[in-house]
C-alpha cells in the first residue's frame, strides 16, 4: 500500500476504554516536586484562606504519562493519516515551526514586557504583517483576533465603527450567502447587524441578480469567502464588489478558503476592504484538537485607524506599538495568539516566494484531481471546475439504498481515513465536502478514491445495518442523546445517572 493511505493510520491501540485519571487516583501518590520553601514560614491569617485541600487526582508521574499517552493513542491526527475535511485545510504541520515556537526567547516572555525589551516579538509581527498584506493585497494588519470567528467579529465591528463615523447610521444589514459558515451570521448578529441571506444559484455561485435586489441604503456590507464554501470561484466578484461599494457598503473576506488562491490572486485586488486569515489553516499551524488558531485581520489603508490595537510600527529600525485612533478596541487580553503567528511565519520563511507562488496552484490541482477520480463513484454537486475543495452528494444513494452522507463518513473511519465534511454547505443535499490540500500525495488521493468506491458497494450490500459503521474501531457510534438530555458532562455524572435510573 502506498503512503498515508488505507488503514495505515488506524491510531486506536487497545480495545479497552481508558479509565479516567480520577479512577486511577490513589491517596498519597504524587507527580509534583517543588524545592523546599526557602523563606522563613509565617502563620498568615486571611479571611479568604481555606483549610481543606483541593479534590484533584493523586497519581504518580508514570501514571500521568501513561494515561495521557494512551489517550493520545486513541486519536486520529494529521501525523497519522489523511483528513479530506472540506473547509478545514488540514495540511501537514512542519515540525520546524514547533521548534521556533519553543525558543525561550519567544515562549517565556511575559506579555506586559515593555516594547523596547521585546523588540524580537514586535519584529516577528511586523514581518508577518508584511507577508500577509502582500499575499492578501491589503495594507495593514492586527494580530489580536485569536481565531477566525474572532477575526470575523473584528471585521464587522470595524465596519460598524467606520459607518458610524461617516454618519451612515441607517446601514444595519450584513449580506451573507446561504452557503456561508455558521460563524458568519453568528458574528454579524454579535456585532449588532441584521443578517440578510443571498441565495446561491444553480451553478453554485452567489445569485447576482438577487443580490442587486437585496442591496440598498441599509446595506452595511457583504461577507464572502472566495472561493465560496462550495469550492467554486465567484467569477463575478468584481461586479459583486461594485454593487456593494455603490451603496457605500464594505466587503469582508472570510479567509476560510484562502489556501486556494495564495500566489494566484488576492482578495485586495477583488475589491475586499477587510480580510481575515486563518493561520491554523492556510499557514500550516497545528490545529491542536480544536485550537489554538489565529485570525489576524488585514485592512485597506482607509480602515487602518479602526484596527484593534495596538499594532506594530517601525521607524529607524525600532519597533513600537501604535494605538489606532478610532480603534474598535481589544479583541484579546494581549496580542492574540502570538506563538501561532510565529509558527505561521516559520512556515512562510521555509516556503519563500517559490513555495507561496505554488501554494494555491497545488491545492487546486489536488482538489481537481480528487474530484475527477471520485466523480467516477459519486456525483459532484456542481458542474463548474472546483478550486481547493469540492462538494459531492449521495442524494441518489439515499433514494435508492437509504445511504446517507453520514454513513459514508463513518465507513471511511474504519479504513484509516477521517471523514470528509458532511452536510455542509447546508444548501447541498447529503453533501460530502472534500479538501485534500497541497500536501497529500497523488497515491493517497488514489487510495481515498478507491476506498470510497469500495465503501459504497459495501454499504449497498449492508444497507440494513448502516448504523453499525464504523465496525473496526474500539468504540462505535455514541448515543448523542444521553449527555444532551442528562448533562453527563462531569466525571461521576454518568454513574449517578445509572444509579438513579
Amino acid at each position: 500500500m502506498s503512503s498515508g493511505g488505507n488503514a495505515s493510520s488506524l491510531p486506536l491501540v487497545g480495545g479497552m476504554p481508558e479509565p479516567t485519571i480520577k479512577e486511577l487516583s490513589k491517596p498519597g501518590r504524587r507527580a509534583f516536586n517543588y524545592p523546599k520553601l526557602d523563606v522563613p514560614e509565617e502563620v498568615i491569617e486571611h479571611e479568604a484562606i481555606k483549610t481543606e485541600k483541593a479534590p484533584l487526582p493523586e497519581v504518580s508521574e508514570h501514571d500521568l504519562v501513561m494515561h495521557f499517552s494512551r489517550l493520545a493513542h486513541r486519536n486520529f491526527a494529521v501525523d497519522l493519516g489523511f483528513y479530506p475535511l472540506g473547509s478545514c485545510t488540514m495540511k501537514y504541520n512542519p515540525r520546524f515551526a514547533d521548534w521556533v515556537a519553543s525558543l525561550p526567547g519567544f515562549s517565556n516572555i511575559h506579555p506586559s514586557t515593555p516594547s523596547h525589551l521585546s523588540q524580537g516579538i514586535l519584529e516577528i509581527l511586523y514581518i508577518l504583517e508584511k507577508y500577509l498584506i502582500e499575499i492578501t493585497g491589503m495594507d495593514y494588519a492586527s494580530f489580536q483576533p485569536p481565531a477566525g470567528a474572532s477575526g470575523e467579529l473584528t471585521g464587522l465591528l470595524i465596519i460598524k465603527e467606520y459607518l458610524q463615523r461617516k454618519n451612515l447610521n441607517n446601514k444595519k444589514n450584513i449580506i451573507v450567502p446561504d452557503s456561508a459558515h455558521g460563524t458568519n451570521p453568528a458574528s454579524a448578529k454579535m456585532a449588532g447587524f441584521n443578517v440578510v441571506e443571498v441565495s446561491t444559484d444553480i451553478n453554485g455561485l452567489v445569485d447576482v441578480k438577487e443580490l442587486k435586489t437585496l442591496v440598498n441604503d441599509e446595506t452595511a456590507g457583504l461577507m464572502l469567502t472566495n472561493p465560496n464554501t462550495g469550492g467554486l470561484f465567484e467569477e463575478e466578484i468584481l461586479e459583486i464588489s461594485k454593487i456593494i461599494h455603490s451603496v457605500d457598503g464594505l466587503l469582508y473576506y472570510d479567509g476560510a478558503n484562502l489556501n486556494a488562491i495564495v500566489g494566484v490572486c488576492r482578495p485586495g485586488d477583488m475589491g475586499f476592504d477587510i480580510v481575515h486569515s486563518n493561520l491554523h489553516k492556510t499557514f500550516a499551524t497545528p490545529h491542536g484538537g480544536g485550537g489554538p488558531g489565529s485570525g489576524p485581520v488585514a485592512v485597506k489603508d482607509f480602515l487602518r485607524e479602526y484596527l484593534p490595537g495596538p499594532i506594530v510600527e517601525k521607524s529607524d529600525d525600532k519597533f513600537s506599538w501604535y494605538q489606532p485612533k478610532y480603534s474598535i478596541g481589544r479583541m484579546h487580553g494581549y496580542h492574540g495568539n502570538f506563538l501561532v503567528a510565529l509558527r505561521a511565519l516559520a512556515y512562510m520563511k521555509l516556503l519563500g516566494k517559490e513555495g507561496l507562488d505554488d501554494l494555491g496552484s497545488y491545492a487546486v490541482l489536488n482538489a481537481r484531481y480528487l474530484a475527477s477520480v471520485i466523480s467516477k463513484s459519486l456525483p459532484l454537486a456542481y458542474a463548474k471546475p472546483c478550486m481547493h475543495e469540492f462538494v459531492a452528494t449521495v442524494k441518489d444513494l439515499k433514494k435508492s439504498h437509504k445511504i446517507k452522507a453520514y454513513d459514508v463518513g463513518k465507513a471511511l473511519l474504519d479504513r484509516g481515513f477521517h471523514s470528509p465534511t458532511i452536510y455542509f454547505p447546508l444548501i447541498v443535499e447529503e453533501a460530502l465536502m472534500f479538501e485534500p490540500t497541497e500536501t497529500q500525495s497523488v497515491d493517497t488521493l488514489d487510495d481515498l478514491s478507491e476506498t470510497i468506491s469500495i465503501i459504497i458497494e459495501d454499504l449497498k450490500l449492508n444497507n440494513q445495518n448502516l448504523n453499525t459503521y464504523p465496525k473496526n474501531l474500539p468504540v462505535g457510534r455514541p448515543n448523542e442523546l444521553i449527555p444532551a438530555k442528562h448533562l453527563t458532562v462531569n466525571w461521576g455524572d454518568f454513574e449517578l445517572l445509572e444509579i438513579t435510573e
Binding site: 476504554p17 495521557f68 470567528a149 485550537g291 488558531g293 507561496l356 453499525t468
Partner: protein, 435 residues
C-alpha cells in the same frame, strides 16, 4: 515545499485533467485578477538557515528577565512532563473531535479538563475552553444578560485595563450599561446596593491589585436580586483560597495560562469557563459529555451542540468555533501533575514568598499599599517615575512588575521565585529609588 508531487505524479494528474500547465487551472478566473509574477516576497530559506534567522530575532528580546510581573499571566514552573505530553502530535495535529469514534483521546482529555476545572472551582459544568481570561469575562457577561434579560452590568474596577477594554469591545455599550465600581482599600464595597435591573455582578478574585476577600455576603446579596454572579479567579491560588463555588458564584472564569502553558507573550493561553447546570443551554463554546456506544462501551462526544454557531447560526450562544483545546489539555495534565498537595504548595509558597518580600520592602522603607489583604500580588509606591524604575530594574535582570500608574508598580510573586532573587530585587530597587 511540502508538496510531494514528483514529475511522474504531475504527468499522471495533468493527463487525468487534460491540462498542460498549472495556470490552466485558473482559466475561468477574471484575467485581471491573476498575479502574473506571483507574490513579491523573499526567496525560500532552508531549515538550517531558518534556525539562525529565528534564533537571532529571538535574542532581540531581553531573555531571562527574572519575572515579577503578573496580572493574570504568571511565571510558574511548568514541568517538562506537562510540556512534552501536551505536545504529543496526536493532540497537537488533530482536528476538532467531531468524529467521536476516532477522537476519543482528545474528547476524554477535554472531559477530564472540564471535570478538573469543576472540582477545583466547585462548579458543575465547564466548557472545553475559551480564548483567554479577558474574552471569558465578556462571554460570561453575555450569558448573564441572556439569562436575566436585563441590561446593566455591575463590575468591579479591580480588573486589568486590557480586560476592561475587551469587555468594552465585546459587550455592545449602546444596548448595555457597564458600571465600574471603585474598590475601597482594594476591596469591593461591602455595602454596595445592587438593583433589580442589574444583570451581572462581576468581580476578580483576587482583584487585579492582589487583594482577596471572602465574597460570600456580596454574592448572597446580589443573588437575592436575581443577579448572575461571575467570579474571575487566579487558578493557581485555588489550592489555598476558598473556592468561588463555595462562595456561591454562578459562573467562574479564569485566565488559565499559569496552569499548563508557558507565558507565550500572552497567547495562545486558555480561558476557563465553569458554571451551574441550570445555565447549560446558555454556555458558550464546546462541551464534551460522557455517553455509551451501541455496545454500551464508554464513549465521549461533543454535546449540547444546538447552542453552537454551526447549527444555530445567528441564534447561537456565541460565535466561538476554534478554541484553545491544546492549552486546555495542557491545563488538565498540569493539574494532575500538581494534585491536591502540589496545587496547595504552589499557592502556599507564592503567598509565603510574597509575604517575605513585602516585609523586606517595608524594612527598606518602600511603601506596600495592600500588605495585609493581598495574597501573592501587591502594589508598591515609588517616588520615581515607574517607567524609569522598570527600565533600570531590567538593566539588572528583573522584570520589575506591571506599571499600575506613574508611581505604582504591581508586583507578582510565584512559587518559582527564590529568596535570593527576592533579596536581590529589593536591594536593586532600593538602589534605583535612591539614585
Amino acid at each position: 515545499m511540502f508538496v510531494p508531487h514528483s514529475d511522474i505524479d504531475l504527468k499522471k494528474v495533468f493527463n487525468e485533467l487534460s491540462i498542460n500547465s498549472l495556470s490552466e487551472l485558473f482559466s475561468h478566473l477574471p484575467k485581471e485578477l491573476i498575479l502574473e509574477n506571483g507574490v513579491n516576497l523573499p526567496d525560500s530559506i532552508s531549515e538550517l538557515e531558518a534556525i539562525e534567522y529565528f534564533e537571532s530575532i529571538s535574542k532581540k528580546n531581553k531573555e531571562n528577565l527574572i519575572c515579577f510581573a503578573g496580572g493574570g499571566h504568571y511565571d510558574v514552573y511548568l514541568p517538562h512532563t506537562v510540556k512534552t505530553l501536551t505536545m504529543r502530535p496526536e493532540f497537537m495535529t488533530s482536528y476538532t473531535p467531531y468524529q467521536a469514534e476516532i477522537s476519543q483521546g482528545v474528547l476524554q482529555a477535554l472531559f477530564e479538563f472540564q471535570s478538573l476545572v469543576c472540582d477545583l472551582t466547585e462548579m458543575e459544568l465547564a466548557n472545553a475552553s475559551l480564548y483567554d481570561g479577558a474574552t471569558s469575562i465578556a462571554e460570561a457577561i453575555s450569558v448573564a444578560i441572556n439569562k436575566t434579560k436585563r441590561d446593566e452590568v455591575v463590575i468591579s474596577s479591580g480588573f486589568h485595563p486590557n480586560s476592561k477594554e475587551v469587555v468594552n469591545t465585546l459587550i455592545d455599550n449602546e444596548k448595555f450599561k457597564i458600571k465600574y465600581i471603585d474598590l475601597i482599600d482594594y476591596k469591593f464595597p461591602k455595602d454596595y446596593k445592587f438593583k433589580d435591573t442589574d444583570a451581572a455582578f462581576v468581580v476578580s478574585y483576587p482583584h487585579f491589585e492582589g487583594t482577596a476577600e471572602d465574597l460570600t455576603e456580596l454574592v448572597t446579596k446580589a443573588k437575592s436580586k436575581g443577579i448572575v454572579t461571575i467570579c474571575y479567579v487566579d487558578p493557581t491560588l485555588l489550592g489555598i483560597l476558598k473556592t468561588p463555588g463555595n462562595m456561591g458564584f454562578d459562573i467562574v472564569v479564569a485566565e488559565g495560562q499559569s496552569i499548563g502553558t508557558p507565558l507565550s507573550f500572552g497567547g495562545p493561553t486558555v480561558g476557563w469557563f465553569a458554571t451551574k447546570k441550570e445555565f447549560a443551554r446558555l454556555v458558550p463554546g464546546r462541551i464534551i459529555g460522557e455517553s455509551r456506544d451501541s455496545n454500551n462501551i464508554k464513549t465521549y462526544v461533543m454535546t449540547l451542540r444546538a447552542r453552537e454557531q454551526d447549527i444555530r447560526r445567528e441564534k447561537a450562544s456565541s460565535n466561538i468555533c476554534t478554541n484553545q483545546t491544546l492549552n486546555a489539555i495542557g491545563s488538565a495534565i498540569h493539574l494532575c501533575w500538581l494534585g491536591p498537595e502540589g496545587i496547595y504548595t504552589m499557592g502556599f509558597q507564592a503567598m509565603q514568598k510574597a509575604n517575605y518580600m513585602k516585609n523586606k520592602l517595608i524594612e527598606e522603607n518602600i511603601e506596600v499599599l495592600n500588605k495585609d489583604t493581598s495574597i501573592r500580588e501587591f502594589l508598591i509606591k515609588t517616588e520615581k517615575d515607574v517607567d524609569i524604575v522598570i527600565d533600570k530594574m531590567a538593566d539588572d535582570g528583573y522584570l520589575a512588575g506591571i506599571k499600575y500608574s506613574n508611581n505604582q508598580i504591581l508586583i507578582a510573586v510565584t512559587e518559582k521565585r527564590t529568596k535570593d532573587e527576592i533579596d536581590r530585587y529589593v536591594n536593586t530597587l532600593k538602589k534605583v529609588l535612591d539614585e
